[in-house]
């Protein structure tokens, strides 16, 4: 009998606690992509554009676009809700897009609310835009023939999966942002032929966008800070150095450079702090790759040619890295994270590292190995 009392007591407790707040999906507008800009007329206000799914059996497409203006991100969502007959929820937010206006001022306050919200996944992608984020989203909304809601997400995701882009999720961004001596990078979207494409990488100093590099240059950030499993790269080498090994009988084209493509690229990389006083680093990079394309015919069966090719590629890559480093120093951004390595040995503050970074030196030891070059008849 006392057991029965306990049971009824428990039941009453459950009733008192009430039900969990329900989110029946047929009543939801599930936000997929948000674009944020600063309002042009009022600098204090934020323009937010939402692409979301709504579920209406009679509608042709489940996608819908709504924009609103408010002082905070959450406030903007409330405003947007007034324009939609569905309840806007951020639980499946996949891409957050930042217009140049806000990216240049700093995006941390927005990211902070995103990472605090338990409903929002940390693996969502962040991206910068070269024109207003709202414009880009409405361009996609009007012109995309595929699923509008997931267009941007898939655009970034497929390229990240193929290791063409660096992974730039919310978690990665926050990680780099909070680490001493490390700066985040985001893909930069622009509209070409009325469709969005990733043209460049945006460089961030803390949470402010300060510059941009090409996606090809973005390759080196990952080369130096992580490792490739199946990467790919294009290299162009001066043709003069290969005159002796050209198969001239079969190929008579006259071009200035030799273009080649490497794929299935695997890399390993180790950066060491050599000297604290000089802020000198030494980086050992090993690359193994398959040669899949050559613009000229070379005597690849000869090992010497292959070695020469390997050396020239290494030289070229090294040169490119040095150019990139010069650009980084000029902008005083450290996306590779040399400061992190410095910090592990000699604790340092962010400010101190900013002062030291332009003076840092990098010694690169880069080795390329071509594993296979295919069977060429």
């Amino acid at each position: 009998m006392p057991k029965l009392h306990y049971a009824s007591l428990c039941f009453i407790f459950i009733l008192l606690a009430g039900c969990a707040p329900a989110y029946p999906i047929e009543k939801l507008g599930v936000i997929n992509t948000i674009g944020v800009d600063i309002n042009q007329e009022n600098e204090e206000m934020l323009d937010s554009t939402y692409v979301f799914f709504q579920f209406d059996p009679n509608a042709n497409s489940p996608n819908e676009l709504v924009s609103s203006t408010a002082k905070t991100i959450k406030g903007a969502r409330e405003r947007a809700n007034l324009k939609s007959n569905f309840r806007l929820v951020p639980g499946k937010l996949r891409v957050q897009l930042f217009g140049p206006s806000i990216a240049e001022q700093g995006i941390f306050s927005i990211l902070d609310t995103l990472s605090r919200d338990a409903k929002i996944t940390d693996t969502m992608y962040l991206a910068a835009a070269d024109s207003s984020a709202g414009d880009i989203l409405s361009q996609v909304f009007q012109n995309s023939t595929t699923n509008v809601g997931t267009h941007l997400y898939q655009l970034i995701d497929t390229n990240v999966e193929q290791e063409i882009l660096i992974r730039t999720t919310l978690r990665d961004f926050m990680h780099k942002y909070f680490d001493v001596g490390s700066d985040p990078v985001l893909p930069l979207l622009s509209v070409k032929d009325q469709m969005p494409s990733i043209t460049k990488m945006a460089l961030f100093q803390d949470d402010r966008q300060v510059g941009e590099i090409s996606t090809e240059e973005g390759f080196f950030i990952k080369l130096l800070s992580g490792k490739y499993q199946t990467g790919r790269i294009e290299v162009d080498l001066p043709i003069e150095k290969f005159e002796s090994v050209r198969e001239t009988e079969t190929d008579n084209r006259k071009e200035e450079s030799l273009f080649l493509a490497l794929s299935e690229l695997r890399s390993r990389n180790k950066i060491k702090l050599v000297s604290k006083e000089e802020v000198k680093f030494k980086s050992e990079v090993k690359i193994e790759a398959r040669l899949v394309e050559l613009s000229e015919q070379l005597t690849l069966d000869d090992e010497k040619t292959l070695h020469k090719l390997e050396d020239e590629i290494a030289k070229n890559l090294k040169q490119q890295i040095n150019n990139l480093m010069a650009k980084f120093k000029e902008l005083n951004v450290d996306p590779i994270g040399f400061g992190e390595i410095y910090n592990t040995k000699h604790p340092i503050t962010k400010k101190e590292w900013r002062a030291k970074f332009p003076e840092m030196k990098l010694d690169i030891d880069l080795k390329v190995k071509i594993l296979r070059h295919g069977i060429i008849e």
Binding site: C19, A20, P21, A22, Y23, P24, I25, E26, L28, V30, N32, F53, Q54, F55, D56, P57, P62, V89, G91, K92, R94, K119, T121, N147, G149, T150, Y153
Partner: protein, 502 residues
């Protein structure tokens, strides 16, 4: 003590008596039953009374083995002489009216020679029962196909025939105050755990009840926890399964008039084992067994998970699925709980109707219900078509369990789970799972934990429970049930293959 003495002296007083007196006493005890036959014969100088219940005895045997030798003799009979001369082995000398009645109702013929000190009974019962048939409740593809019947004799024959060893013990226990039923407790003397045998014996012997309908209701009287929804003894109608368990050191119970054998102790997991797993190759057998465990989880949790996801946790639905799920849900006017309950109810109705109706009509009902109502319900906007798939999968999964009892248990568990998920989402489902796990931890079968070998954890038994291993590795009986002999065969010998040269 005093009373039994009195009764004995009274019984002694009953014989000798005249045929007329005996007739009167027997008729009174039988309440003037029209099937009760009393025949009086005069052979020589002795008067003989032969009596029996006509529907219970084999009449051919009565004529050939009792009446014709009895009547063909010219001189007088005495009881001793009858005992010696009649070509029947199982004569019993009875002096007590109650014992005589017991014999009569189990199909005996009584013979009394006037003024003798007692009477003889011969058991020549005739029981009508069906022949040994294929099992349709627990059908298997591989292995023996025969099933138990309602006759204990036939069932014992099948078991004895499979386990033809003098190690097989079969203890006779009579249960039932008003209607007596014979129960056989069977085990292998050299293997079965003494405690298990003793526990089962004690439970059967201590059972005081009017009558038992069948083996299945019997288990409800002797199981460990009557409040639990989980069956604690395995019930099978396959003699192969019955004997297989006995050879693993378990205890079996057969009940007269019931086509079901009871096996104990049992764990939750053994309800998902089929003898077929043993007949399969070990890797195929493992796959199918694991498939059944997956089916258990699907069957209990898939619909609740759908309800929870659609009502509370839209985040966990993959984006491509979200759009199709959303648009199919948008047409439905009810909340997901009611929608799911409606469909689950429909499936249960179909199952019940199919089981009650004759086979041919049952099939038609299945088609009408499954296809017509399913289609119409979607078209009418009562349910979403994705939920129909979900419910159908979980219904299908619940039928993969080899034991019908556990299958229906899981189907019942699903309903509170759906309600919980409808009110509290995945938190509710988790609460439900926790409740079930806590409950299962406390359930025992014949005093042994129900979750063996997962809890108490015993890795050695995993190959006998969750998966199968090749025979040269898996050579032990279940450690959890502590049989007297652990080793089924020596491991080394199976590894050594005799080559053709040797």
């Amino acid at each position: 003590m005093k009373r039994s003495k009195e009764r004995k002296s009274k019984a002694k007083e009953m014989f000798p008596l005249s045929i007329a007196d005996l007739k009167k006493q027997l008729s009174d005890a039988m309440h003037d039953n029209p099937d009760f036959q009393l025949q009086e014969f005069q052979v020589g100088a002795s008067k003989i009374l032969v009596f029996y219940i006509t529907v219970m005895i084999n009449k051919n045997q009565l004529n050939s083995s009792i009446l014709s030798p009895l009547l063909s003799k010219k001189n007088d009979w005495t009881l001793a002489e009858i005992r010696n001369k009649l070509p029947l082995g199982n004569a019993a000398l009875q002096t007590d009216l109650k014992a005589i009645m017991d014999d009569l109702i189990s199909g005996a013929v009584g013979i009394y020679v006037e003024n003798e000190e007692g009477l003889l009974t011969y058991l020549i019962p005739q029981q009508e029962h069906r022949k040994v048939q294929k099992s349709d409740k627990e059908s298997t593809v591989l292995g023996p196909q025969d099933a138990f019947t309602e006759s204990l004799d036939t069932n014992l024959n099948q078991v004895r025939w499979r386990l033809n060893s003098n190690d097989l013990v079969s203890e006779k226990i009579i249960v039932g105050e008003r209607v007596k039923t014979e129960i056989r407790l069977m085990y292998l003397k050299s293997l079965a755990n003494e405690t298990d045998v003793q526990t089962m014996r004690q439970r059967l012997q201590n059972l005081v009840m009017d009558e038992i309908e069948d083996a299945t209701p019997l288990t409800y009287f002797i199981e460990d926890s009557s409040m639990s929804i989980f069956p604690q003894f395995y019930q099978t109608e396959l003699p192969s399964r019955f004997t297989y368990s006995i050879t693993k050191g378990k205890v079996g119970v057969l009940v007269d008039k019931s086509p079901t054998g009871i096996i104990a102790p049992t764990t939750l997991f053994s309800f998902f084992e089929s003898t077929e797993d043993v007949f399969m190759r070990w890797n195929v057998g493992s796959f199918i067994r694991i498939l059944r465990f997956v089916a258990l989880i699907i069957s209990a949790l898939l619909t609740p998970a759908y309800v929870a996801a659609v009502t509370f946790h839209y985040e966990i639905i993959p984006t491509p699925l979200l759009t199709s799920l959303g648009s199919s849900r948008a047409a439905v006017p009810f909340p997901p709980v009611i929608e799911a309950m409606f469909l689950e109810l429909l499936i249960e109705l179909l199952r019940e109707a199919g089981a009650r109706l004759p086979t041919k009509v049952g099939q038609t009902i299945g088609i009408v219900g499954g296809i017509v109502i399913g289609q119409a319900a979607v078209a009418a906007g009562l349910t979403s078509n994705i939920l129909i798939i979900v419910v159908a999968i979980s219904a299908l999964a619940s039928f993969t369990a080899p034991s019908y009892l556990i299958g229906s248990t899981i189907r019942v568990i699903r309903f509170p789970m759906i309600l919980l998920s409808g009110f509290l989402g995945l938190i509710g489902v988790m609460a439900g799972i926790c409740f079930l796990v806590i409950h299962l931890l406390k359930v025992t079968s014949l005093g042994r934990p129900y979750l063996l070998p997962a809890y108490p954890f015993n890795y050695k038994d995993f190959d006998n429970t969750f998966y199968r291993l090749p025979n040269f590795i898996s050579n032990l009986r279940s450690v959890s049930f502590r049989p007297k002999d652990m080793i089924r065969y020596k491991q080394k010998r199976t590894k050594k293959m005799k080559d053709i040269d040797e």
